[in-house]
Symmetry: C2
């Protein structure tokens, strides 16, 4: 046993340190085969199981028919049936006892019977259609072995073999202690009308409970504990008494309220802290009274990846005495591991393993994946991810097109999923529900109008959309599209017209009336280069003879209308150019400037794509059109 | 809706008939996000879920540090830090509220503090390290959609978004009615000391309960019901009231006690009966009061495959309104679907889909599979199967070496699994426990001594074993091995000597003293051609000048010592040539004849194989040797 706490370790070192410091539980429990509530599947046998009886335990008929003496059937054939007198045969069902005075069974199909005799059309030899005692299972034979992982078949087998109880390895008893002054536990949450500012709902126990349930373990959640070394120490002492594995929530970093390391080293010894992974870095593992304790980082995604990489292998070690080679696949609960093309260049952080959430789709026969938002605080990207990928520590730059390994976590109907790249637009987002109702799916990548046209040219999406103003001609889209659609294979559809304008706070405190006001004492939030809205802003500024350098906040970038409007709502900017629908959604004021055509572009060969068809059907649906109109600032022209 | 019952339908027709006759339940239930007992994973959303609050719902610090006004940090740099007076900054933890009078947060790492002032080493702009309201999730936004399959992440997401209740599709309520006069239910079984002849434990409810649990559904087991149309009719009426899906056990064939079809057609209409598959043929599906009823065949394997092919798609149809394309994979709960070489020729039954249980191993880089016993009555082969394969109706003969699709149901450590082909021997069977303790595995195929040598020559096993007497020389094994080991690459090890003799019933009622008695009024059971014991019998008969035609039962074949001895025990034969260990195990009498060397043959290149090494280590273990000695009739000579 090492004395010093290892710091800044790699994912692989976790396993070594766990194995070095944690011994298997070696506890067993017995399960009753006659208890309908005990679940056998997934348990590990702690000792060999021998059959307590023969199956069958009596000579049993294998068919419906007549028990006879084989010698009485002589040389019977359809032409010369054997005739057997009453008393010398007996009707038996499949599974019935063949009494001792008989030694074979003729199938009912091979006989006829009248009131005196049975006529047998095919001779049988001794033992025909009689299942001897112990044919399936002989009494005393080993029917399952120590170490076997029980499947759904074992419990029924044990009942059949007369086994009343079996010994299995005891699953580790685990608990989770949520901590944090800012946290509100589930029970308090139930009563609360309004969550006060600064308070955060306790969700990690919910996530962990679902995770443990999926792994086949259970998890007790102990009371929420304050960020106070004394309180944490007390609950840890209690937990260690009752549980084989203790998980503590948060308090793992170096903030003023992070007491986990101190409390753990007082009561036991720290084994490691800081793992070279992102997210999940501030995880601590300690041994207290010989039992493993893991202090998990507080952000949900960090809790998740720390559970995959530390908690799951710990559970395996405690229960089975070994960590399986594919422990990460098992922990993630993947449907399959696939190799897919990375859809965008990824700059990795060398020296740190990175967990990526990805969405996947197939375009022109290429399976591609895109990394989604990597914030550790949000759970939304988790529910939207198709899979996860782990970038190893050595990686630096991963070029677009590289093959990466992805653990898929949900079913992907590759051929029914269309990919949209292009301008960010709430109307497009509203198609998803309609598309899914058609058993198809749409991935939306808001890469800006120009990004969408480029993606289409590179064959990286099925559908693009743009609202690109040509400053020279004052015309929308055509010049951009013609430049890239070299073979004239793209179809264009004007989906609707959108009202663009200046989004300002309620009441328009800065009295912004038009573009010329942007050169005054106001701060704007801009959109990324290549977005249609950015092109429009530059055009309008040019027409008003305003230089970008005269506009404060010109370099502040938001990548969606919603992001930009949020910054106005919160006050980190005074104004943003954007669409009316978003101003309405966030209850902001809006100064209308221009109506622009929002155009969909689809290569002809994609019109037969299942997902594209579902998209096209959706935008023709009345219900979708109504939704769009209600968003505000949209005008349907089809 | 079709009126007539379809008979003898194919697997695919099942799906069509289910879809034609069964409508989705369209019932929903609400789940509380604050109920720690409600499991969300696996449920299907019945309507869109919108966020009830912004996450975060207040401007929150993204780091540990000091809330400041961005303008106060001016052009701060490490060389020229900004100095901020007390009262103009505030300590904030990650997640804390950033009060209204501040607009940015500087990380603690970028500051020093004394009793009067905070020194900031890097200027920040408005909004830096402040997470705006609704950054993760905006109030009112759709966070999960109707039809979404909930993952382990959703419940925590809903709690975070202030969602207290969600609507999901109600899982079908299902029940199983065990039937049969010969059946003993689990509760009665608990009390019974001894199971009377002709009685069979009720195991199908146990198997179905584990299966439903694995599928994520629950199943109620109703009381055992007699084979009586009135009783069956009564319980069906009750069941139909309370459940969305009723399963009935057995009574599906054409025997005298098979009443299911009659009862079902009286109360509803039969949709189909007899499915062209083996096993599982006598399955019946009916609609009673608009609800589906499935009468399952009684043998456990038949129940299983009927559940996969009828019950699981029914559950999907009821819950989701559609049957997934991979419903069989999902029903079987496969780890993966692979293509493997068929290790033996298989003669299929044309016109019938056949379910095969297979064991798999890799030899010389070839992934191979062998079909195991196909009896529908026994559960043992289920727990021992690595996977299942479905032979389609069109197949006739499937030549050895054909690639077949296998649904793997358990983890296969391909590279750690050795394959033994050769003579049937209880001593070899006893190595398995020792080998598994070494994290390796052994597949035993009892193909006879000659079969083993041939398999080795064809590269179809790692280890062979034989006891082949050369009638010309009186010497064992050498002449056979040299004929096939052309390149002299095989190593030979005499594992032990085994005592062969005549196995007879207790008390030797036929007074059999030696080989010459086999020509008298006794019936033998023989072993298959190519087995060492068969070669020995032929040799001994030849020496005694007895022609095979003079021996009754010479053509009765058993493929293992145990099978042969069982036939003697049950009385379908009087005598068998076999080893003492088996006579001892079955408590039979034994007339010793000859001691033979039992020899292991392993090609040199397999000595480094993980599984072969584990085998070789096992046969050198003291505990294994003791086990062998205790079997009786073995003499260790190493």
């Amino acid at each position: 046993m090492k004395k010093t706490c290892k710091e800044h370790i790699s994912l692989k070192e976790i396993l070594l340190l766990l194995k070095e410091n944690i011994a298997p539980l070696n506890k067993t429990i017995s399960l009753s085969t006659t208890d309908s509530h005990s679940v056998f599947v997934g348990k590990i046998l702690a000792r060999d199981v021998c059959s307590k009886r023969n199956v069958p335990h009596y000579p049993a008929s294998a068919v419906d028919g007549y028990a006879v003496r084989a010698c009485d059937t002589g040389y019977a054939s359809p032409a010369t049936p054997a005739k057997i007198e009453k008393g010398n045969f007996l009707w038996v069902n499949t599974g019935s006892v063949v009494p001792e005075n008989f030694d074979a069974v003729v199938m009912v199909e091979d006989t006829t019977i009248d009131e005196h005799c049975l006529y047998v059309f095919n001779a049988v030899s001794k033992g025909t259609n009689v299942r001897p005692v112990g044919e399936d299972i002989a009494k005393g034979n080993i029917i399952a072995r120590k170490g076997d992982l029980l499947s759904i078949f074992h419990k029924a087998l044990f009942v059949a073999a007369g086994v009343k109880e079996i010994e299995v390895k005891a699953p580790p008893r685990a608990c989770f202690v949520p901590t944090g002054n800012e946290i509100v536990d589930i029970n308090t949450l139930k009563e609360l009308k309004q969550l006060p500012p600064g308070k955060i709902p306790e969700t990690n126990s919910v996530l962990l409970a679902e995770l443990f349930q999926k792994w086949g373990y259970s998890l007790d959640v102990l009371p929420l504990t304050k960020d106070d070394p004394k309180a944490l120490g007390d609950i840890l002492k209690l937990a260690i008494k009752d549980y084989d594995l203790v998980l503590m929530g948060a308090g793992t970093a170096k903030g003023k309220r992070d007491h986990s390391a101190k409390v753990l080293s007082e009561q036991g010894k720290l084994v490691f802290r800081w793992v070279r992974m992102k997210p999940g870095r501030p995880v601590i593992m300690a041994v207290v009274e010989g039992k493993p304790v893991v202090a998990l980082p507080g952000f949900p995604v960090s809790t998740l990846v720390a559970s995959w990489s530390v908690v799951y292998p710990l559970l395996q070690l405690l229960e089975k005495g070994k960590i399986s080679e594919e422990y990460l696949s098992e922990a993630i609960g993947t449907r399959e591991v696939i190799k897919v093309e990375l859809g965008d260049h990824y700059s990795a952080r060398q020296g740190v393993s990175e967990w990526l959430k990805v969405q996947c789709a197939e375009i022109n026969g290429r399976k591609m994946s895109w990394v989604t938002s990597s914030g550790a605080s949000s759970m939304m990207p988790l529910t939207e991810a198709d899979g996860f990928s782990l970038v190893n520590e050595e990686a630096l730059e991963i070029p677009k097109g590289s093959l990466i390994d992805v653990w898929l976590v949900r079913k992907n109907n590759w051929e029914r999923r269309a990919v949209y790249q292009g301008s960010n637009d709430p109307g497009i987002e509203h198609t998803i529900g309609f598309i899914r109702a058609k058993n198809a799916d749409l991935i939306i990548r808001s890469v800006g109008s120009l990004g969408g046209v480029l993606a289409l040219a590179r064959g990286e999406c099925h559908i693009a959309a743009c609202h690109l103003l040509d400053p020279k001609t004052g015309e929308y889209n055509t010049s951009y599209i013609e430049k890239f659609d070299v073979k004239k294979e793209w179809e264009r559809v004007v989906l609707y017209k959108r009202l663009q304008g200046l989004i300002v706070r309620r009441g328009n405190p800065k009295k912004i009336k038009g573009i010329s006001d942007l050169a005054k004492e106001v701060v704007i939030v801009n959109r990324q280069a290549g977005s249609g809205t950015r092109v429009l802003l530059d055009y309008l500024l040019g027409k008003a003879n305003i230089a970008p350098t005269d506009v404060k906040g010109y370099e502040n970038i938001a990548v969606t209308h919603f992001d930009a409007a949020s910054k106005v709502a919160y006050g980190s900017a005074d104004v943003a150019l954007g669409i009316k629908a978003v101003a309405d959604a966030l209850d902001l004021d809006f100064v209308p400037l221009i109506e622009e055509p929002f155009e969909i572009v689809i290569p002809k060969r994609h019109f037969e794509h299942y997902g594209v068809k579902a998209f096209l059907d959706s935008i023709n649906e009345k219900a979708w059109k109504e939704t769009i109109i209600n968003l505000g600032g949209y005008r349907l022209i089809r």
